[in-house]
């Protein structure tokens, strides 16, 4: 989490980073997008210490990005599915993953690929213009203050 001094910041990137800027959070969300739901699934997937995972999952639940749902009684055990707000992080996660594919390439090629379910095409993150409906390149975008 960013420091409290950020909380009033009038910028939705800063606000997003308050929520998911903590180093482990996006990796937990990535594993969840890959279908991991249970505590031991995350520890196996991420090599994260159990105490850190416990605190990050609690925080992600508190923030509304994951739910905590019992899947077993005696002893009670929980799983952590993503909420719609959590699944909505897919675009940002894929954008960062593909930035890594392009700019920090591994010799053996990328290990994972985003695929269109059913069609199996490769999914790319694109910038599109809502007015001319064209695909837009990064250098054609200006982020402007609108109020």
């Amino acid at each position: 989490m960013l420091k409290r001094t950020y909380e009033g910041q009038d910028c939705n990137l800063a606000r997003s980073l308050e929520v998911i800027g903590e180093r482990w959070s996006l990796l937990i969300v990535r594993s969840a997008l890959l279908g991991v739901k249970r505590f031991d699934g995350f520890t196996g997937h991420l090599q994260i210490a159990r105490n850190i995972l416990t605190s990050r999952l609690a925080r992600l639940v508190e923030l509304g990005i994951m739910e905590k749902v019992p899947y077993q009684d005696k002893p009670v055990r929980y799983e952590y599915p993503l909420t719609p707000m959590g699944r909505d992080l897919a675009t940002a996660v894929i954008a960062l993953m593909q930035w890594g594919d392009r700019n920090l390439p591994l010799e053996q090629g990328p290990p994972r690929r985003a695929e269109h379910i059913g069609c199996d095409g490769h999914v790319h993150v694109r910038l599109g213009c809502g007015k001319c409906d064209r695909e837009v390149h990064g250098e054609e975008v200006a982020v402007r203050r609108i109020r």
Copy 2:
């Protein structure tokens, strides 16, 4: 920066977060995408402590995300333009900003908007399929291991 134990991780999201996962780095890149280049520009824009800004700029230069270019002699002063690798973060920055617009809305509406230069249309981040060429929604995407 993530801990060193991450460095061998075979995941380009983890590798991207090694590079830009530090809480201030994406905010500095965001300001740079808005046109800020100089030290005092960043401090005015971000309310970041000068010693933290100094270390983050040095790190972003070391990582190849920014350049350090003198713009004045006596005393020598530097500015920090983004490299192509840094400008390529625009998509991820806009994706996170728009996730915040949707999921952490401010009562008075979003303060900034990504616009298509020249056309002035609103730029959105979209997922597109390279095979069927359609726009894809988050729930239609599977991230699959390919090796």
